[in-house]
């Protein structure tokens, strides 16, 4: 029979997972509505980085602000722009210290965005898909993002589909708000390269 302290530790772990799941889903909802300040406020002041597809790596909280507020926020959505990110299928693991965690998620995107290059050109309706491997940190009892990493699988015009046109246009690197370093792992379809998960196999431990 577990002691109250042991039970408390197990319950806290379950609560932590729930909080991280909520955080990740709220991130998705805020992004859908271009609410970048709210997104930035989901990151710890000691955040490590954000790296989305081919935008490159933006380091530290300062970089997080530059990425969301200056780069993305600097391009207000056009009339008719649509940005839906469906964040699904989380595998969230809280580290034994209870203060940090990692999570893998799918994101399926339904969009209407300019795609020519670096956000120029006419709006097109798009399907997108990618995988998050994110890190989280608990500070003052609240879970926040430590790191966001998004691996793009495809972003294709609705009329073409992912086989014919795996990636349309280019997002970065931006000349106006340059990343701190180029993308570290940008390999969309049909590269055949897979993003490794943060977790070990739950049965074999490998």
């Amino acid at each position: 029979m577990a002691t109250i302290e042991e039970l408390q530790a197990r319950i806290t772990r379950l609560e932590d997972i729930k909080q991280v799941e909520k955080l990740q889903r709220m991130y998705g909802y805020y992004l859908d509505y271009y609410e970048y300040q709210k997104v930035v406020d989901l990151f710890s002041d000691h955040a490590e980085s954000v790296e989305i597809a081919d935008y490159g790596v933006y380091k530290d909280k300062q970089g997080v602000k530059r990425f969301y507020l200056e780069l993305l926020g600097g391009m207000p959505p056009r009339v008719g722009e649509l940005s839906i990110g469906m964040v699904m299928q989380g595998v969230v693991d809280v580290d034994p210290n209870g203060k940090t965690a990692k999570g893998r998620w799918y994101c399926m995107m339904i969009e209407a965005k300019p795609t020519l290059s670096l956000h120029e050109g006419e709006l097109r309706q798009l399907w997108g898909n990618g995988i998050y491997e994110n890190e989280y940190v608990k500070e003052n009892g609240k879970w926040m993002f430590k790191k966001v990493f998004f691996f793009l699988n495809f972003r294709t015009p609705y009329e073409d589909g992912w086989l014919k046109v795996p990636v349309v246009g280019q997002n970065g690197p931006s000349a106006e708000v340059p990343p701190d370093v180029p993308s570290t792992f940008y390999h969309p379809c049909p590269s055949g390269i897979h993003l490794q998960p943060h977790y070990k196999h739950p049965i074999t431990g490998k």
């Binding site: 302290e5 909802y29 209407a112 709006l123």
Partner: protein, 200 residues
């Protein structure tokens, strides 16, 4: 920490899990046309149901009328080719401090085959929920279902070219839709929750 406090924490976790299951079961019953099972997920004191552009249906009686008589056509069989797949995604569920009511935001993405004048038609839908739940006799039930549709488009055209197939207001609705502003209006469905870090 004592046992009573632990029990409160465990109850909260169980409540969230039960609500998530409720929301997902709603979709599974809906997609297999089990209308009575859908209606039975609502409290007898339920407030309302409003989805798509069908209008607001108030009270348990309105909810029964909506799912059983209107959508369910009083149990009349749908053609076999007709299909609704309701994918429930991204639940943010918050149980109120009283432990008896809760709110949840979700989004849903639906591939469907629906009837049209020209015959079966493949469609895509998307929308956001802001739902309310109530716990009665230890069981979580719907108090209110509210689904705000983003688009309802055909497979051949896509959401940008043809965001809405039409307005499908049911004649026996108690009120018209409360915020029918599909794409490309840019309408934002308000969140029930405060920002988890800033509290704003």
């Amino acid at each position: 920490m004592n046992l009573e406090e632990l029990e409160k924490q465990v109850t909260l976790l169980e409540d969230i899990q039960a609500i998530e299951n409720l929301q997902r079961m709603y979709a599974y019953y809906f997609d297999s046309y089990q209308w009575q099972n859908v209606v039975d997920l609502f409290s007898d004191r339920a407030e309302s149901a409003e989805i798509e552009s069908h209008g607001v249906f108030q009270g348990k009686e309105g909810i029964r009328r909506f799912y059983w008589e209107d959508i369910g056509r009083q149990g009349q069989l749908y053609p076999a080719w007709m299909r609704l797949l309701i994918i429930q995604i991204g639940g943010v569920v918050d149980v109120d401090p009283n432990g008896r009511t809760a709110k949840g935001r979700w989004q849903t993405w639906l591939p469907e085959v629906m009837p049209s004048a020209a015959g079966p038609r493949q469609v895509w839908l998307h929308g956001y929920y802001e739902n309310e739940y109530v716990k009665e006799d230890g069981k979580w039930l719907f108090k209110k279902i509210y689904w705000n549709v983003t688009f309802y488009t055909t497979y051949e055209t896509g959401w940008m070219k043809f965001p809405m197939l039409g307005i499908f207001l049911f004649k026996d609705a108690d009120a018209p839709p409360t915020a029918f502003h599909p794409y490309p209006s840019g309408y934002h469905v308000p969140y029930h929750y405060k920002h988890p870090v800033t509290g704003e």
